[in-house]
């Protein structure tokens, strides 16, 4: 792997950008692998990378039915933060945040992680108390959180509607300064390139069509490019976990739902941090290219269509304008949809399954991108050792039957209420 650096770039510039290697190979599938990971999104690729890097396993394949990073990795709003209220969640996501901070160097690929702060706005005293509670939970666990006064919020985002008569008046906020955004595609590409350099086979256009089983034990996968044997098989296809698990005869506490996002035409810098709200389901950030990236409510019914309800986008736009009136004249240039893997407590599953040698990483709901490095790290640990990493232990598949759910929103088992 030819290393990337400013100097290498300069040299390449003098020679017409010739001489760059392929970022990853295009290998034919082998007969068998020690570990097969189904799904070439950020989570699957980071799993492969850490399996190779941390656990020294090199005979690994990542099987991707389309092109890597083409699912939710390339469809999210790129927000990275760890400020969840529930301890198992903020422990996992903060482990991720620590990995985000060194990811570009680790992978020798600039993923543009930009800790420009993740701000939640509070619109009432009770909002502020809820934010303080969350912040206190984080701070007591050693994770950064800072309450901001109304004036501090105004200074941070001068374009907010700070009037007392606003429909959602702003009382203050809570920010996580280490949070921010990253370049989503680059995460998939960076992990793919680094994993490839360690010998991992990243195989695109390879769709898993079934599992080969021997006495209730998974021994490999059937694909559109033939059968491939495997010591262990890890499902890592959030958005599509149900249909893949169904091939092994499993039903999951997961339902697919559409979540939309949209982006405006690029404009010069106007919003310098990630804006979210304690009371509204609207989140706003500005990309390096200048587009304002917005998201809102999920569609709240099961779907794989990757085509959403226009009403959701319209509501998100209305809420965004309520917060930042100057957004009204900007134009949406593109909207898109992802299929979210809505688990029945809102938390992910990183776990073994009732079928031997088969593992699941999924159920990320609408929050998976920010977990990418920790998800891969913990899943690699599970696939390498057969035992859960301590951070992932609470996210076991059997927690629903046991009653040990991790319900950040406190709304129970119905994904459409989340």
């Amino acid at each position: 792997m030819k290393r990337y650096s400013a100097l290498a770039l300069l040299k390449a510039g003098l020679t017409g950008q010739r001489g760059w290697d392929r970022a990853w190979r295009d290998p034919e599938p082998k007969k068998s692998y020690d570990v097969i990971i189904i799904g070439g999104g950020g989570h699957g690729l980071s799993t492969a990378y850490y399996l190779a890097k941390v656990h020294g396993i090199r005979n690994i394949a990542v099987l991707e039915k389309g092109w890597i990073g083409g699912g939710n990795t390339g469809r999210n709003t790129t927000i990275v933060r760890s400020n969840y209220r529930q301890k198992p969640l903020h422990d996992l996501f903060d482990f991720a945040l620590n990995l985000w901070e060194g990811m570009s160097d680790e992978l020798n690929y600039n993923v543009m992680f930009s800790p420009r702060g993740a701000l939640f706005l509070g619109h009432s005293d009770s909002d502020m108390t809820m934010l303080a509670q969350r912040g206190d939970a984080l701070r007591c666990d050693g994770i950064d959180a800072e309450l901001l006064s109304r004036d501090q919020v105004q200074k941070l985002i001068p374009l907010l509607d700070m009037s007392a008569s606003a429909r959602f008046p702003i009382h203050g906020g809570m920010t996580q300064r280490r949070g921010g955004t990253a370049r989503h595609d680059a995460v998939a590409w960076g992990y793919a390139r680094a994993a490839d350099a360690l010998g991992v086979d990243v195989i695109q256009k390879c769709e898993v069509t079934g599992f080969t089983m021997d006495g209730g034990r998974v021994t490999g996968v059937e694909t559109n490019r033939g059968s491939i044997g495997a010591g262990r098989v890890g499902i890592c296809v959030a958005g599509n976990s149900g249909p893949v698990a169904a091939m092994a005869g499993l039903k999951l506490p997961i339902e697919a739902q559409t979540l939309q996002a949209f982006v405006t035409e690029p404009i010069k810098p106007m919003i310098d941090t990630v804006i979210m709200s304690q009371s509204l389901h609207c989140y706003i950030s500005q990309s390096d290219k200048g587009g304002i990236v917005l998201g809102g409510d999920p569609d709240q019914f099961p779907s794989y269509a990757q085509r959403g309800l226009p009403a959701r986008i319209e509501k998100a736009a209305a809420e965004a304008i309520a917060l930042v009136p100057a957004l009204s004249r900007l134009r949406m240039v593109r909207c898109w949809s992802g299929t979210t893997d809505m688990s029945f407590d809102g938390s992910p599953i990183i776990s073994g399954l009732p079928v031997d040698n088969l593992y699941l990483n999924g159920g990320w709901c609408y929050g998976g991108f920010k977990a990418t490095p920790a998800s891969g790290w913990c899943y690699a640990h599970l696939l390498a050792t057969g035992a859960s990493h301590a951070l992932a232990a609470p996210f076991a598949f059997d927690r629903f039957a046991r009653g040990a759910t991790i319900d950040e929103a406190g709304v129970g088992f119905m994904p459409q209420l989340r």
Binding site: A132, G135, D136, P269, A318, A326, R331
Partner: protein, 903 residues
């Protein structure tokens, strides 16, 4: 004189507009692009990355280059296509992405650095800590972006409107009009949509929406249409919106969306003076503008020959037609076959000459306009959005609409009725300056680099190079990119793949998306029946979901806390009244009403006597406490169920599910009455006397029911206490409740009491140890966690009984409800820890000072809390710099025996 100009004669230029501070004149009907060309302004913009000077390339919405910022103040709209903006008197436009000026732009240095700024260069450098990247990023962000967003609020209104039709025809060209006429003749209701101001023909009997863009096609014939009532930046007619978003449900949809002409790829193909062939014709025919005097035409099809005729007729000179094919149609213009442009040159960014390959040799032609035609791409966006398949047409080198899962059909150019072209693979001697995506400055060499580095899926190529991701969403660049990709990959274009077409077809303002919901109307505000009564007392209002409720009624300059304390003390010593109208209320009636209630309530209901009520709670199916309230047996087969304000809508659905899905055999009716009845609670030691005097009847004992009248208004009185004092909830029909409030207020004040708000209500209920859904009942707690398990009905049979049997819910270390006391204020929401740095064991759910006396009390959820009475912990709030030493107690701090409300 060279360059674009107005053809002499014709209408007078009566409109005044300014571009970059210079005043010009335009004719009515001119687009800004036409007016600028008519005034000889050929250079109007700078490109995104290399800040290359750009002119007008197209005449329609596909324009990638000529973007301007139009309007002033809160009406400023950046990135507006000059080709899709009709000039109005007083229009103000400025060029973008340049500093200090369009002519001299320091950002153009990026063009010099271009060899180092190839596709994806930023992925390969700027390493080091995140803080270092952010430093680079600051400059990258400043350089990126196009126009500047307005900072002032938008003064204009927007709206949504719904419509239904049998046929929605998109596109008012010849094909669209023909389709609409046919539908009208067949007696169908037709809506016809056209982006321009006028149709190309006339038609009657249809609903016509001009200046309207079909923005998106969704499921089941649902379309969103964006109508512009005024041009960007223009002041609307008073009382009228600036834009309107239509939601149209159509039985079938006809797409007459036309085709977009493709540019050709060669070095310097982005220079001002290079224009699409049909755009040249449009400017001549529609606007009397001749975009150039000496014109070279480069084409791979017959259509561009018509452009030569138009130029000659308008007085221009056709220097040469370069046809990439071996032969073209007969013409009297000089034609060079097997000829393609190689590069352009010019001074001060204007085109001066075109170098071309002609056969085996090269030739140079002097020209101030190069009209190009690389073929035609049917506009299949909407067809594709609606889930339609695309078929490849080799003769057109284009995708055309295939089968659609919806009743969507395409006609005319959109269906592939466009001139055939020669499929030629261009050999590009200078790929670095051969632009594919003009707005984002993606060149052929960028695509080659991406390919070489393995970004080979069309989606990777797009994302790595940013191809097709500009404001034009690749309308002019997609096919050129696919052709290039296919030739590099050695595959056919259909094999190379295609990126997804996503809404909107053209960029759509967030204002139009939001409609009337923008700004102050982003959510409805629910107003309680007694709003006016409260407003007279000038309370502090508190939002609660969509409701607002009085939080306290300060007298004079009283603080919130002082007012609430005064109000709460009145309740403890004399009396107070509080508005409880927002509580959810359900009338449950019928012979099986009790059986039904025993399904949704986890507590016993069946044994409740007529005229009596009791506390109850409901579980979700997973066993967690969902809500709580009271249930009253008003008559033999008539019950009233109350539950929390915040859970009212959810409870309504839950009850309906329980009835219609789980127990449809039960003879019961459930009616939600939340807004039907206003509710006022009268609490305090004097409440019984006050109410007896007002009603002239004896009040019932605790948890008893009475019917009476106050101020002549019939009321239902429930003897329930939330504060811990003797108390009554008084319900009257919402529209009649004003006098009831007045009477109660007068009597309460006369007894030395006050109206009280939510803040005092909190003080009182916390001291009494009553839980609240949303604080203690946080959706993660079981009845056992909240010390409610003794009330669970032993026989089971209620919703949630199964979920409760799960083993982990019996774990001893679960978070359990406790009381907390302290000498100092306890921060609400604080974490419970043994000492600083120790692990979190729980948190403070609600906190208040004692109403009478000193010290603070709180409720909390603490791991294994029920076994920890007497433990001393720290309630720590690092985010607020507050903490309090607290002692764990039972969760009740006032009248533990419960004698006061029974007296």
């Amino acid at each position: 004189m060279s360059g674009p100009s107005r053809i002499p004669g014709g209408a007078e230029s009566t409109l005044r507009f300014r571009f970059d501070g210079v005043e010009y004149r335009a004719r009515p009907g001119d687009t800004l692009a036409a007016a600028l060309l008519a005034n000889g302004v050929g250079r109007v913009a700078r490109s995104f990355k290399y800040h290359r000077p750009r002119g007008v390339m197209a005449a329609g919405v596909e324009e990638p280059n000529a973007l301007v910022t139009v309007g002033v103040g809160g009406r400023t709209e950046p990135n507006t296509r000059a080709t899709d903006l009709y000039v109005y008197d007083g229009l103000v436009a400025v060029s973008q992405n340049r500093w200090p000026s369009l002519a001299f732009d320091l950002g153009a240095i990026n063009g010099i650095a271009a060899p180092f700024l190839a596709a994806g260069f930023y992925y390969k450098t700027f390493f080091g800590p995140a803080s270092r990247w952010m430093l680079y990023e600051k400059f990258i962000r400043r350089a990126a972006g196009m126009g500047k967003a307005p900072t002032a609020p938008d003064p204009d209104a927007y709206e949504h409107r719904a419509a239904f039709c049998d046929v929605l025809v998109v596109g008012g060209g010849a094909a669209g009009i023909a389709a609409a006429r046919k539908a009208v003749a067949a007696g169908e209701r037709v809506i016809l949509v056209e982006q321009q101001r006028a149709l190309s023909g006339s038609i009657e009997g249809v609903r016509m929406l001009t200046r309207t863009t079909a923005s998106g096609l969704w499921d089941h014939g649902f379309a969103t249409l964006a109508e512009r009532l005024v041009e960007p930046g223009q002041t609307p007619t008073p009382g009228q919106p600036a834009q309107r978003l239509w939601h149209v449900r159509a039985t079938r949809i006809v797409l007459a969306t036309g085709a977009i002409e493709r540019p050709l790829t060669f070095a310097g193909n982005d220079r001002p003076g290079v224009m699409l062939s049909q755009a040249v014709r449009s400017y001549i025919a529609r606007f009397d503008v001749l975009p150039g005097e000496r014109v070279v035409i480069a084409t791979n099809n017959d259509d561009a020959y018509a452009t030569a005729d138009a130029i000659a007729a308008a007085g221009g000179e056709v220097v040469a037609i370069l046809d990439s094919r071996a032969s073209g149609p007969a013409t009297h213009f000089p034609v060079f076959t097997d000829a393609v442009p190689l590069s352009t040159s010019g001074q001060t960014h204007h085109l001066a000459s075109v170098k071309a390959r002609v056969g085996a040799g090269t030739r140079r032609f002097d020209a101030d306009l190069l009209a190009v035609s690389g073929g035609f791409t049917p506009v299949v966006h909407l067809h594709s959005q609606a889930g339609g398949k695309l078929d490849w047409r080799e003769d057109l080198q284009a995708f055309v609409p295939g089968a659609s899962p919806q009743a969507v059909s395409s006609v005319g150019a959109a269906a592939g009725e466009v001139p055939a072209i020669a499929a030629t693979v261009a050999v590009l001697p200078d790929p670095k300056h051969s632009f594919i995506d003009f707005q984002n400055d993606v060149t052929a060499s960028d695509l080659d680099l991406a390919w070489a580095e393995g970004y080979r899926s069309v989606e990777h190529l797009k994302r790595y190079t940013t191809l097709g991701m500009a404001t034009d969403q690749g309308k002019t660049s997609n096919m050129a990119a696919l052709a290039h990709l296919a030739s590099v990959a050695g595959v056919t274009i259909p094999q190379a793949g295609l990126t997804t077409f996503r809404p909107p077809f053209t960029p759509l303002t967030l204002g139009a998306l939001a409609g009337a919901d923008g700004g102050g109307h982003a959510a409805p505000a629910r107003r309680i029946a007694l709003y006016d009564r409260h407003q007279r007392l000038n309370p502090l209002w508190q939002p609660l979901g969509l409701w607002h409720r009085p939080r306290a009624y300060p007298i004079g300059d009283e603080t919130l806390h002082a007012a609430a304390l005064r109000e709460a003390r009145a309740v403890r010593t004399t009396a107070g009244i509080v508005d409880v109208s927002t509580l959810a209320k359900f009338a449950v009636t019928g012979p099986d009403a009790a059986a039904f209630l025993e399904i949704v309530c986890a507590t016993g209901v069946a044994k409740l006597a007529v005229g009596r009520g009791r506390y109850t709670f409901m579980l979700r199916e997973d066993g967690m406490v969902m809500d709580d309230g009271t249930v009253w047996r008003i008559a033999e087969t008539r019950y009233l169920l109350t539950s929390s304000t915040g859970g009212a809508d959810r409870m309504e659905a839950h009850l309906s599910y329980a009835h219609h899905v789980l127990a449809p055999q039960l003879k019961v009716s459930v009616v939600a009455q939340q807004e039907h009845f206003a509710g006022i609670a009268l609490a305090g030691p004097l409440s019984r006397e006050i109410l007896a005097a007002l009603t002239g009847t004896e009040m019932p004992a605790h948890m008893g029911v009475a019917q009476a009248a106050i101020a002549g208004v019939p009321v239902l009185i429930l003897a329930a206490s939330y504060s811990g004092e003797r108390a009554f909830e008084i319900y009257a029909e919402g529209h009649l409740a004003g006098p009831v409030w007045d009477a109660l207020e007068v009597a309460t004040r006369a007894a030395g009491g006050y109206p009280y708000g939510l803040e005092a209500l909190e003080f009182l209920r916390i001291e009494k140890g009553h839980i609240v859904i949303g604080a203690e009942g946080d959706g993660r707690t079981t009845p056992h966690d909240l010390s409610l398990e003794k009330m669970l009905r032993k026989a089971g049979g209620f919703i949630g009984a199964s979920g409760l049997t799960r083993p982990a819910l019996a774990a001893a270390d679960r978070a359990q409800l406790v009381g907390l006391t302290s000498d100092t204020p306890i921060p609400e929401g604080a974490m419970l820890i043994a000492h600083d740095g120790a692990p979190v064991e729980g948190h403070v759910t609600s906190a208040a000072g004692r109403v009478i006396g000193t010290g603070a009390v709180a409720l909390g959820l603490l791991g294994g809390g029920r076994a920890r009475l007497g433990d001393v912990l720290l309630a720590s709030s690092p985010t607020r710099g507050q903490s309090a030493r607290v002692t764990v107690t039972a969760p009740v701090f006032y009248d533990v025996e419960g004698t006061r409300y029974r007296e």
